[in-house]
């Protein structure tokens, strides 16, 4: 157990550097949105899902529409449902308490590292996954804290283009999700629909609508490919 925990932690160290840097960016954005450090810390501990935290922070404005913010954040986190579903085999002999505890520390990074290592090493177990989760958790917390307190020293984040960091980060993540040519059709259509709906709908629910339309197009295209 101890060995697996330690190995999981160490195996996630390389990726944890970029997690830390994203954390710094989030911390800086938080200061420009007048979010308190306590609120940021609560998000880190109880939500612990980077991209959805970015979404929450970005969408917090006056007046706040709580349901839209919560809906968008949870839509982004829907993938955790699939991620943990794919870990079913790993948890086969674990007690319910272990499942309930460890599952909270599952992240994109620790999940990917665990699956990767499991291919070459039979002994990888849930403690490896947990060790990885701890590593990401610690670096995320440190990163957001640095950003938060360093961010206070930056008088005008716009001059440094830091407000664009979030947009650039997400567009990069989308680019990394691109797998096949038909994805381009889905992405471009979604983008066009989002721009049109943003202009016609007065609140931020256009995000959810255009996303779901995009999903429908994706299902339509890929469903057809399955049968061909």
């Amino acid at each position: 157990m101890k060995n697996n925990l330690k190995n999981g932690f160490i195996s996630n160290l390389p990726i944890s550097i970029s997690v830390l840097i994203y954390g710094v960016v989030l911390g800086v954005i938080c200061t420009s949105k007048s979010i308190t450090f306590i609120q940021l810390a609560l998000m880190n501990i109880f939500i612990f899902a980077g991209s959805s935290q970015f979404v929450i922070v970005d969408m917090i404005n006056n007046p706040i529409n709580i349901s839209i913010v919560v809906g968008s954040a949870l839509l982004i986190n829907l993938r955790y449902f699939l991620i943990t579903a794919s870990l079913n085999d790993l948890f086969v002999r674990s007690s319910i308490n272990k499942k309930l505890f460890i599952v909270h520390f599952v992240t994109d990074e620790s999940w990917a590292v665990t699956l990767n290592k499991k291919k070459e090493n039979e002994n990888i177990n849930i403690y490896f996954l947990l060790g990885g989760g701890f590593c990401i958790f610690v670096s995320w917390f440190i990163g957001t804290s640095i950003g938060y307190y360093f961010g206070a020293l930056i008088s005008n984040p716009k001059l440094y283009g830091l407000d664009f960091a979030f947009l650039a980060l997400f567009i990069s993540i989308v680019a990394s999700m691109y797998k096949k040519r038909s994805d381009l059709i889905v992405y471009c259509t979604t983008a066009i629909i989002a721009v049109i709906l943003e202009k016609t709908i007065s609140n931020m629910s256009y995000i959810i609508f255009s996303s779901l339309i995009g999903c429908y197009i994706y299902i339509f295209i890929n469903k057809r490919e399955k049968y061909e």
């Binding site: 840097i21 994203y22 960016v25 007048s34 979010i35 308190t36 609120q39 998000m43 939500i47 612990f48 979404v55 929450i56 917090i60 706040i64 709580i66 919560v70 968008s72 954040a73 986190n77 955790y80 699939l82 991620i83 943990t84 579903a85 870990l87 079913n88 309930l100 599952v103 440094y160 283009g161 830091l162 664009f164 960091a165 979030f166 947009l167 650039a168 997400f170 567009i171 990069s172 993540i173 989308v174 680019a175 990394s176 999700m177 691109y178 994805d183 992405y187 979604t190 983008a191 629909i193 989002a194 721009v195 943003e198 256009y206 255009s210 996303s211 779901l212 995009g214 890929n222 469903k223």
Partner: protein
Amino acid sequence: MNNIDILLIIIFVAIGTYTLRFSGLFLANKLKRIKHIDLLLEAIPATLLISLVVPSIIKTGIIGIIAAGVSILIMHKTKNTFLSMSIAVVIVALHRNGLLL
């Protein structure tokens, strides 16, 4: 802006996210019966991120569109998220300080 609202958002998202994390693990065997659920969940992250950022990028103006294009290009070539994000930020920063375009 109201702290209670922010706290409510954090509480709801925390509960929802935890529910998603453990229900995936607990419902794994039942999941396979639902038609196209895999495709839907596969599509959501990208389409949601696009819906979220594209209107904002366009509002940033021509420089935003250029920076986003460059970051997609770098991502495509290097697969390095951090590098592509940083360069896009530098492009926007240089432009705002009158050093670019």
